[in-house]
Structures are given as structure tokens and as C-alpha cells.
Amino acid sequence: MDRLRFLKQHLEENFIVASLILLILLFGTASDNFFSVITLTTILNQLPALTVITVGMTLVLIVGGIDLSVGSVMGFSATVVGVATVAWGLPLPFACIVGLMAGLMCGLTNGILVSYLALPSFIVTLGMLEMARGLAYITTNSQTVYIGGAIQKISLPLPIIGVSAALLVAVATVIVAHLALTRTVMGRFIIAIGTNEQAARMSGIDARPYRLCILAASGALAGLGGIFNAAYLGSADPNAGIGFELSAIAAAVIGGTSLMGGRGSILGAFAGVLIITILQNGLAQIGVSEPAKRLITGAVIIVAVLIDRWRGTHSAS
């Protein structure tokens, strides 16, 4: 019984993997230099920020909410890191902690409003989307802050391992979140709350602290994404992360997370991040025009979910 389920789940994730491989093959044939170590490094370099943010988003979606503020919070946190390093002269680790705290604060605010004032998360985080962007502009006086070499080390390959510290942290985040969701009591509770809050309440689970935690975590992860973004750019861009929320949601949903709550997979979401990142890269390598990029991106998002759905009905019947 259990074996069968495992196999089925395996197959499900394989469908996403199949989409991924298809995409890679397509770009491989369309572009001469797609299959190269440098392409791989390029893609790996781009992953960390979207990955950690998508992990947060997936958790929020599973608990039955949505977090539209991640992109702005990421931008805000990046500017905080930038200003903390450059203007206040904090050493990098402290600056990063301050950046994380900025993200956490935004997340906590979202969480308190959603949990304890029972406001819809869509609206609260939409408000925060505006406000965190405003804060990012205030922090930097709307200017890009050049940080310089030190912070870039976070996103440059480490000597022996060959991948960056940012990527390691991002992958660790994926693993920890996956285990927390599937193996812990808290994970069960989060899924229960997302599935049927009323029933969870009748089972003695108070949804509010969990909602609060998850939204705060999403804020903190967006803060982490901000650090990665600053490291990636070597500077703090107050406009960083515009539209990131939609990419993160798309990645989560491509990976099988339901927008209705109660259902989702962190590993699947990670596969979704890979698909989106590879798509962006491949399209840039082929050098297609901006309109064509839009058309192709839109189509791939729909087709990826279509494949997922087709698999769903196919394996169910």
C-alpha cells in the first residue's frame, strides 16, 4: 500500500521532472552553448533568491493564505542590508541580520493582521506590497546603493564545493521546510488548518499562532532573498523584486501546490523554480524578442499546469 503511494508520488514528481528535461532539451537544440558548465553556473547563481521566497510562499499557500508582499519585502530587506553596510558601516554578518529582521518585521506585521485581526491575507499583503516598497525607497532615498565586493562572496562559488554559499543555504531551506512539512506535528497542523480551518479548530488547533508563524517565516525568507539579491547584484536596488510574488506563486503552483490551501509540496515548488529560471535563461540565450518572451513564458506556465492536471486525472482514473 505504502509502496504504491510512494511510487505514485514519485511518478507525480517525475512529471514535473519530465517537463524540466523537455525544456532543457528544447533550449539545448535551439542554442549552441546551452549545454555548458557556464550555463549551469549561471542558472545555479540565479536560483537562491527565488528558491527561498518560493519556499515561504508555498508554506503560506498550504496554510490557506497568500503573500503578495514577498517581492517588496525582498527589495526592502536588500536596501536595509545595503544601507547597514555602507551608511552605518556595520560588518557584513550584522548587516545581514538586520536585513533578515527587516523581512521578519514585515512578515510579523502581515501575520498579526491576518491571524489576530482576521483580515484576508490577500489584502493585508497587498497593502504590505505597497508599504514595503515605500520603505525601500525611503531607506535608500530611491537610489541604488553600491555595496561592493564583500557581499558578493555570498553568491560566488566556494573554493572546494564549487557552489555558492547562497545556494547551499537555499537548498538547506528547501530540505528543512520539506521535512518540517512532511515529518513534524507542526507540518500536519499547517496542512490541517489549510484544508479545513473550522475542523482544525474543533480538533483543538488554534490556527492563529500557526498562521502568524508561517507569514512571519515568509517575511524572513523574503528578507533572506533580499540578502541573496544584494549579494547577486553587489548593490542594493530599491526596485528589486518587483513582480517576484507572481513568479513565486507560479513556481509553487507548477510544483503542485493548491491555491485553495491544504495541499502542496516543497520539492515540487523547487522544481517549479527550476523550470521558471531555466526558461528565463534559455529565452535570454536564444535572444528572443521581448514580446515573444512574454508569449512563451505565459504559455509555459499554462502548459506546465496542464501537464500536471492531465497527470492528476490520468492517475486518478
Binding site: 549561471t42 547563481n45 530611491s142 537610489q143 553568491s155 526596485n239 540565450q285
Partner: protein, 303 residues
């Protein structure tokens, strides 16, 4: 109507304050270029506080024409005396500006030139104060070309493709490249955005291993390109030039990661615009177009 001919349309309902109101409408207040512009304007107003009052507005994103039209209407509603505008689009704003002129407001066009044909269709003559983006881009392109040899591969990062300035700058880059016989192997848009610029540059670097230079339509994209070059381990092997001279780029020019950029003196742009507006309010003579300087910024010129 008649109001347009009235040289002193002091319609401000607030009679206690006789100073005229000048509205500065920009493309965005979230972009350093326009922040510099706004700061220049505020500094000028502070120095000439007895002469006029200032309202500064910008739209949320640089391409939202409807929001900018809305701003113009709101300024008409607020009964300002003059509008100094950096239009988000060269065509779509003309009708709204025509309404402003009809309402007796003096209008000055800065930064991004309005479409002459459509102005003519409305019978409008709106003075223009601004730099020549094409010339600036060509200038930095030529400076770059002097470091390269014929046949070298270069790439262009373009801004939002629908923006007029983006097109002018790309055209300037292209002309400089053509004159020097450089080979433009890629021209992609990174939407003025730093993070997108890293993605696009990284991909171009993979696709064109022999690339030697990248011409960027603004400094944000130049910063992104520099980060991408750094990540690809090609630091020092690829020359980058930008546009706008934002403060963050100056460090990189000093350490030669970025070769050069163009300063189009955003602060002066607003000041010249406001001065033209004040002139229009106080004289009956038609106001002449003014050209603002474009300067090449290199590590030498920064010191």
C-alpha cells in the same frame, strides 16, 4: 481661449499667497534620475522661495501613461500656473497637455521630447528643455570604440522597449558601433532593471564567449551587467558603459569595472525647465527650446 493669452493667469484661489504654483510631473519618483531631478527642483525653489511654489509628482511605474494623464488633470484641477513635465510617452500626453494649455497653464516639456507632428496637429508649441539622448549614447559609444578594434563583438542592453529614450540611446550606441566597425551580436531588453540585467547578461555571456563589451541603456543595467561579468569570472575582460551617472555607478567607474557613463544633469534639467516656466509666466515672448549639456563621465573626470 483667451486665458491662454493672458500672461498672468493667477487663478490660484488661495489669495493670501500671490506666488505662482509650478507643478513638476515626472516619470517616476522611484528612480534615482528623477529623484535627482526633484532634488534639483526643490533646491532651486528653496533658493527662490519668494518667486514660486512647487508641487512635485511622479507616477508609480515609468510606463503608466494613464496615470500621468491623470496627474496632468489633477494639476489642472489644482489650478497650478505652470506644468513642467517629463513625459512618459511622447504621443499619448499631448491631448492632456493641450487641455492644460487651454486652461491657461504654461507647459514646459523636459527630458523626453513630445512628438512634433502631434503637437502640430493640436496647434501647440511647447518649449522643450532637455538633453540629446542620441548624442549622449553616441558619445559614450565612441569613447568605448576608441578602446576596441574593428570586428570586436559587443552587446547592447536596452531599457523598456516602448520608451522613447530607450530607442534613442540604442540608436546612438548602434551608430557609434557601426562607425567603428564593431559587431553588435546581441541587443536585448532588461527593462531598465538591475536584476533582469544580470539574467540577460549572463545568458549573453554564455552565448557569445568572444564578447568584449556591453553598452547599457542606463546605469542600473550597467550595475547588473557588472555583477554578471563578475559572476562569470570575466572581470576586467569585458568593458561596460552605462548612462545616467547615478551615484552607485561612480565607485565602479573609479575601480574601472565600468568604463564610462553619461551625465545628463538631471538637476539642471528641472531647474532649466522651471526657469523657462517662470519666464513663460512673466513674459509674452515665446519661449525657446533649451538644450542641456550631456557629459561623458570616466574615471579621470570623476577625480
Amino acid at each position: 481661449g483667451d486665458a491662454a493669452l493672458d500672461p498672468h493667469p493667477s487663478k490660484s484661489t488661495d489669495d493670501s499667497d500671490p506666488r505662482p504654483v509650478v507643478a513638476l510631473i515626472m516619470k517616476s519618483l522611484a528612480n534615482e534620475f528623477f529623484v535627482t531631478m526633484a532634488n534639483g527642483a526643490r533646491a532651486h525653489q528653496a533658493a527662490h522661495a519668494d518667486q514660486y511654489r512647487l508641487i512635485v509628482n511622479g507616477i508609480k511605474n515609468e510606463v503608466d501613461l494613464a496615470e500621468q494623464v491623470g496627474l496632468i488633470d489633477q494639476m489642472i484641477a489644482s489650478r497650478v500656473d505652470a506644468i513642467v513635465i517629463s513625459p512618459a510617452g511622447s504621443k499619448a500626453l499631448v491631448p492632456a497637455l493641450a487641455r492644460a494649455v487651454d486652461a491657461g497653464i504654461a507647459v514646459i516639456n523636459i527630458d523626453n521630447r513630445l512628438d512634433q507632428d502631434i503637437l502640430a496637429e493640436y496647434g501647440l508649441e511647447i518649449p522643450f528643455v532637455g538633453p540629446d539622448n542620441f548624442l549622449g549614447a553616441k558619445m559614450v559609444g565612441q569613447y568605448l570604440a576608441s578602446r576596441l578594434s574593428e570586428g570586436d563583438e559587443v552587446a547592447i542592453l536596452e531599457g523598456v522597449t516602448t520608451a522613447f529614450n530607450a530607442g534613442r540611446r540604442s540608436a546612438g550606441f548602434n551608430e557609434a558601433a557601426a562607425e567603428a566597425g564593431l559587431n553588435v551580436v546581441a541587443q536585448q531588453s532588461a527593462q531598465w532593471d538591475q536584476t533582469k540585467a544580470v539574467t540577460v547578461t549572463s545568458a549573453i555571456l554564455v552565448q557569445h564567449p568572444n564578447l568584449v563589451a556591453i553598452l547599457c541603456g542606463n546605469d542600473n543595467m550597467a550595475l547588473g551587467a557588472a555583477a554578471a561579468v563578475n559572476q562569470a569570472g570575466k572581470r576586467g575582460k569585458i568593458i561596460i558603459v552605462g548612462f545616467d551617472n547615478i551615484s552607485a555607478v561612480q565607485n565602479l567607474i573609479r575601480d574601472k569595472t565600468i568604463l564610462a557613463t553619461v551625465d545628463q544633469h538631471a538637476d539642471l534639467l528641472a531647474v532649466f525647465g522651471i526657469e523657462s516656466a517662470l519666464e513663460a509666466l512673466s513674459s509674452t515672448m515665446p519661449i525657446k527650446d533649451k538644450s542641456t549639456p550631456v557629459d561623458l563621465i570616466t574615471s579621470e573626470s570623476l577625480d
